[in-house]
Amino acid sequence: MTAALRFDPIRLPPVCEELRKEVRAFLADEIAAGTFDPHKPQREDSDAPEFSRRVGARGWLGMTWPKQYGGHERSFLERYVVTEEMRVANAPTRRFFVADRQSGPVLLKYAPEHIKMDILPRICRGELCFAIGMSEPNSGSDLFAAKTKATKTDGGYLINGAKIWTTSAHIADYMIAIFRTSPPTKENRRHGLTQFLVNMKTPGIKVNPIAQITGQHEFNEVVFTDAFVPDDHLLGEIDGAWKQATSELAYERSGPERFLETYYVLTELVRALGPEPDTRGAEGIGRLVAQLHTMRRMSVSVAGMLQAGKEPVVEASIVKDIGTLWEQQLPHRVRELSAFVDAENSNHATLGELTAFATKLAPKLTIQGGTTEVLRGIIARGLGLR
């Protein structure tokens, strides 16, 4: 049983360390040029299209994809390094992050050739922003309860209904969404949903912003009224989206973005406590660093398994479960430890501001991309319990 749980001590190869230096130098230049402030973790709120293009020009988008589609045929471990350095620097990645991590790989696998040739190179150049259209008002964790309909018409489909919580829909060029093409069957309630590529400029699509408790604008409601999607935008098997959804999960669940979302409060805590913290402060830092190091080693291990062609679905779910809980609790731990910060010679104000922001952000971390409860269900299945 536990033979299935593997976290081999994978180390990043030397090429990754060279790359890391390049990424750090690039980000330092961007910060110096005023593109973004590394001490302001507002990345979800700030669109940076020019930055996105410059990242693409460096060859850091579509890193693992085939060259014929504009990719760079580099390893998952190299992509890992770029991702983690961008996260830790609080770089504004929102325009390209979803396309690079999730949408591109789906298109690579399921889109017709001419669509791949058209779209993938533009993702690699940092020109395109993607949104994911899964959730609906009455379909969240239970993805297969989705009702938004795709009705067959001449040359394509007419879409009617609404998606909700759609991150970046207001700036996105495309959405990859699931729509109902048939009712579920008695034998398989997951049957009947089909994956589509949707051009967000299509007439009949309306995006309504939804304000969040952080004060930022990240997600939206997307309403479809007879929006036309051509036949060649259908991705994969008709009525068979359920078969396509699971294999990408390992990529989505185990990356460094699953535990580094609030990392900045830890850096600021260490800064605030200074070079000689008292025992309580030192112990607090030590524990958090031990937990962070362990999660990163787990996450790198999963990246190594992906690179080796394995599908570590359970391991990836474990990384997300533990990682998101950690990044969620981090601002609370930092808040406790900030009691021991010396008020005079410290960055007290910055620490307080950042901790407050991270505390407001924290609830979403264990909801987006599959809740803690859903993840634990997947882990339990992997253990042979269900």
């Binding site: 049983m1 536990t2 749980l5 976290f7 081999d8 001590p9 180390r11 890391r20 983690e84 350095e85 830790v88 990392y263 830890l266 850096t267 600021e268 260490v270 800064r271 406590l273 200074g274 070079p275 000689e276 913290p277 025992t279 402060g281 030192a282 112990e283 607090g284 830092i285 030590g286 524990r287 660093v289 031990a290 937990q291 962070l292 190091h293 362990t294 999660m295 990163r296 080693r297 787990m298 291990s301 359970v314 391991e315 474990i318 479960d321 533990i322 409860e373 993840l375 634990r376 269900g377 882990i379 339990a380 992997g382 253990l383 042979g384 319990l385 269900r386």
Partner: protein, 355 residues
């Protein structure tokens, strides 16, 4: 990472544990008759002296092989001084001292204890919570002498040993050295100090804890699939599933932290900041995992797991006991926190990312 020799050594260990350390048999045997044949088989296999080079009379296995054996020993909930003898052999080899036959242990195993070598060549000091001191033939000691650190080999019979029992039921004794004359001693290599020894011991214990958690997960999953309540297997209750998913998570974290630290030490030229991070983090995270994991394993088992007759405690209590040897998680968290603070905030990420 795992080459074939690695697997052969581990398979040898696993075969001995399967044949001679069956948990049911040991648990039922109140007279301790299982100990002698188990230790004989281990000694004949050369496993206790895995970390002693051949020119110091050992079997010259690699550090990585030895760590993998300790992980297997944890999976078996092994109640014999294998880790202790391995660590003692390793410590002695640092000073090119050959290892004698028989069981050994190491002192000090607690960060607050300190042993000194007096000018007259005798050892002074007291070491608490020394694992398996009773029953050991020899003790490998790290002692301070004026400005240098020395490594000494002393007969257990030359020391005063107050018997104690640890949480897991294994010996955890106080050793008083006052007046004991070591059989031999030598100066430790440059830079080798008590922290080095404690870090090495901590990684050994981390692998044992991770192994015990692997078994706790296995037997808890098996039990949940078999036990029926409310006319269902309890594994069908979501609350039980989620508890076991958390146990799998804690087990994974412990395994990842411990094997990473073992890999770091196996490939390191020196005990630098990076190795310190790996080793200290392993002990901290494995100790946390032991606490959470053991609690879940017991919860899933209900009352039966609370009986001495059931084998659960052989793993749960050992995992908890091993937290305390060679510095507990609070000790290492303070040390690690101080190191991170001293390096400064902007150096934290580069340190973490360097691993």
């Amino acid at each position: 990472m795992t080459d074939t020799t690695d697997t052969i050594v581990v398979e040898t260990a696993e075969k001995i544990f399967a044949d001679l350390a069956d948990p049911q048999t040991i648990n039922a045997d109140k007279t301790g008759q299982w100990i002698a044949p188990l230790w004989r088989a281990l000694s004949e296999s050369g496993l206790p002296l895995s970390w002693v080079p051949e020119d110091c009379d050992g079997s010259g296995a690699s550090l990585a092989e030895g760590f993998a054996v300790l992980n297997a020993a944890g999976r078996a909930g092994l109640a014999a001084p294998l880790a202790e003898t391995m660590l003692a052999g390793w410590l002695l080899a640092q000073a090119k001292i050959a290892s004698p036959e028989g069981a050994m242990t190491i002192a000090p195993s607690h960060p607050k204890d300190r042993v000194t070598l007096a000018a007259d060549g005798t050892l002074i000091g007291r070491a608490r919570g020394v694992p398996f001191a009773q029953g050991a033939d020899h003790i490998a000691v790290l002692a301070h002498s004026k400005d240098v650190v020395v490594i000494a080999l002393v007969e257990a019979a030359a020391c005063r040993i107050e018997h104690g029992l640890g949480l897991g039921g294994d010996p955890s004794d106080a050793v008083t050295f006052d007046g004991a004359t070591p059989l031999t001693f030598a100066v430790a290599p440059q830079g080798f100090d008590q922290t080095t020894l404690l870090l090495m011991g901590s990684v050994a214990r981390s692998l044992q804890i991770a192994g015990a958690l692997e078994t706790l997960l296995d037997i808890s999953v098996a039990y949940a699939n078999q036990r029926v309540a409310f006319e269902k297997q309890i594994s069908k209750f979501q609350a039980v599933q989620h508890n076991l998913a958390r146990l799998a998570g804690e087990t994974s974290a412990a395994l990842a932290a411990a094997t990473s630290a073992a890999d770091a030490i196996s490939n390191a030229a020196a005990f630098d900041d990076a190795v310190f991070l790996e080793a200290a983090a392993a002990k901290i995270r494995c100790a946390e995992a032991a606490e959470k994991g053991a609690a879940i394993a017991h919860q899933v088992h209900g009352a039966i797991g609370f009986t001495s007759e059931h084998i659960l405690h052989r793993y749960s209590l050992r995992a908890l006991a091993w937290r305390d040897d060679f510095g507990n998680e609070s000790h290492w968290a303070v040390e690690l926190g101080r190191m991170v603070a001293k390096r400064g905030a902007d150096d934290l990420w580069p340190l973490v990312a360097s691993r």
